[in-house]
Symmetry: C2
Subunit: 318 residues, 2 copies
DNA sequence: TTGTAAGCGTTATCAT
DNA sequence: ATGATAACGCTTACAA
């Protein structure tokens, strides 16, 4: 017991005793057994992070932010790759099993209809744009405002026929929110919203962006600006436009969303929205640790929205 | 005890008893407490992965491969960001503390001199090019062969003054091995090795590649090919050459190393070495699980080298 | 086939 | 200030 008191810096240990204990610990190369401590305390000091994929510029950056924020609180992070709605739900129910004190879950496949499933008696914070007002704390991007700002920027640079690259819009999600922001900006500028300029893609990678840009160019679609809802799509679009012999920013201006590190060095460098990833990561970990530390069952749940800033580069003539 | 037998699928449980137990488990929403099981078994089912940074195209891809390989074995992965030699050594000694059954350590800051520190009585597999023949299992890249192949490819495409972008060469590491491969290829082709063509940079990111390429162009250095020891450097070089008004591949050909996903879509698309990341990840996890499962103390240690293939794209006129 | 006992290493509680 | 005791929930060994 005295050893335990020394290890945990409890008061009421005579300095000379403490010294003796520390000396013995050093001599015997003693290490606390965390499995035993966890068993006793019911805590592991590990939080789970469930993301669709670690190897993506966006989720990689998010993971880095969360690992850093957890480190500041002496927590470690276990990573789960979800890749599908089913796995997201699994991560949720397996979180306690996997020895996590709590879970930060990126909801990319789940939708508002799954919201009830989030009711677990285990600390959870959800990231993403598909579930709002659910039974858990939630951190989202400033989608509407940022999409408006990005579109407005294209307008200010003289674009009049602005296309958007987004996903299928069936329910509230990243695509629908950013599409709404785009529409609001067009309306505010007095520009018509032309359905042929709304280009929907199945995935948000560079491949899809490049393919779609080539199709748009070949089909003779009239456009002078493109707002892509991810930087990956936007870099793909830059590639596709180059293939089609279209000059950026002279003929068409392009703006993305995420400010992944590659966007600064692409040719041309990519204008984009920087969504304060680190701030969001910090808030998510903060909410989770509060839930972990509070003994009482769930009180009201918080919905937080991050900040953003516009980064103007060559692709919009900056 | 009978419950335990049911949970662990032990024989000698009467089917009717098993049913009763399962029914009660369902009714009570029973979950095994892994902390208790871990304490008893001395295993956690979690392996640690220590990488310099998760948010990099290369380490992100590596992490994805390792998570996938671990998943196939029903293991989870805890991620540690090291970022420095000290943290790499810490990860080593903290691995057992952090409840990992074993550790996959990327040695980017440690060097051969630290090799002895790897002698821990805890399963460890080291990745990287700085430590060979150490007291642990080790998986490395096919640096020499791949660097030779990349350089030879530039020669075959008609380059005669081939520069290399690598790091400072003080001891055996990624830079030195790839530089050696480069030299071997030049020699085999009967080309002289000009010291002014060996360009050393402090870090291997896009920023450094771009800066250095601009300097090389401005200084009037005569070169018609560049072998960059990472794709990030190479993409930066493409950017820097574009800034200097130099045409790729017409005036200068560029090849990288890693085959990160961005390289396919860059403008121009980047020729590169694809080092079979998934194969290396699979081998690392395989070696680690063997160490974890074998009771005997360390037998001989294995040094494995991965495969590679050349990916020819626009930046070398492919 | 089922159940009892002991112990994994820690810490909360309570005596001393 | 120090230490004895019990308990966290599980599994190995062994008894019934």
């Amino acid at each position: 017991m005295t050893v335990s008191n020394v290890i945990n810096d409890h008061p009421n240990v005579r300095p000379s005793t403490r010294e003796k204990v520390l000396e013995a610990m050093a001599r015997l190369d003693y290490r606390v057994n965390l499995a035993a401590r966890n068993l006793r305390k019911g805590r592991t000091g590990v939080i789970g992070l469930a993301v669709p994929e670690v190897n993506s510029p966006y989720y990689g950056r998010l993971a880095a932010g969360i690992i850093a924020a957890a480190e500041r609180r002496n927590l470690r992070v276990g990573i789960e790759q979800t890749a599908s709605r089913e796995n997201e739900l699994d991560a949720l129910s397996l979180s306690r099993n996997h020895q996590y004190d709590g879970l930060i879950l990126t909801a990319a496949g789940m939708s508002q209809a799954d919201s009830e499933r989030l009711k677990v008696d285990h600390p959870v914070v959800v990231l993403g744009d598909r579930i709002f007002g659910g039974p858990v704390d939630h951190v989202a991007m400033p989608n509407l405002e940022a999409a408006r700002a990005a579109t407005r920027h294209l307008v200010e640079r003289g674009c009049r026929r602005i296309a958007i690259l987004c996903g299928a819009v069936e329910e509230v999600d990243t695509s629908s929110l950013r599409l709404t922001g785009y529409r609001q900006a067009l309306e505010a500028a007095g520009l018509p919203s032309d359905p042929t300029l709304i280009q929907q893609v199945g995935r948000f990678g560079m491949r899809e962006g490049a393919q779609r840009a080539r199709v748009m160019a070949r089909s003779g679609l009239d456009f002078d600006g493109v707002f892509c809802i991810t930087d990956s799509l936007a870099m793909g679009v830059l590639r596709g436009l180059a293939d089609a012999g279209i000059q950026v920013p002279e003929q068409v201006k392009v703006i993305g969303f995420d400010n992944v590190s590659e966007s600064e060095f692409f040719i041309p460098s990519l204008s984009t929205v920087d969504p304060d990833h680190d701030g969001m990561a910090e808030r998510a970990v903060d909410l989770l640790t509060r839930r972990i530390e509070q003994i009482q069952p769930s009180t009201g749940h918080r919905d937080l929205v991050g900040d953003f800033s516009l980064v103007v580069r060559e692709s919009t003539g900056g």
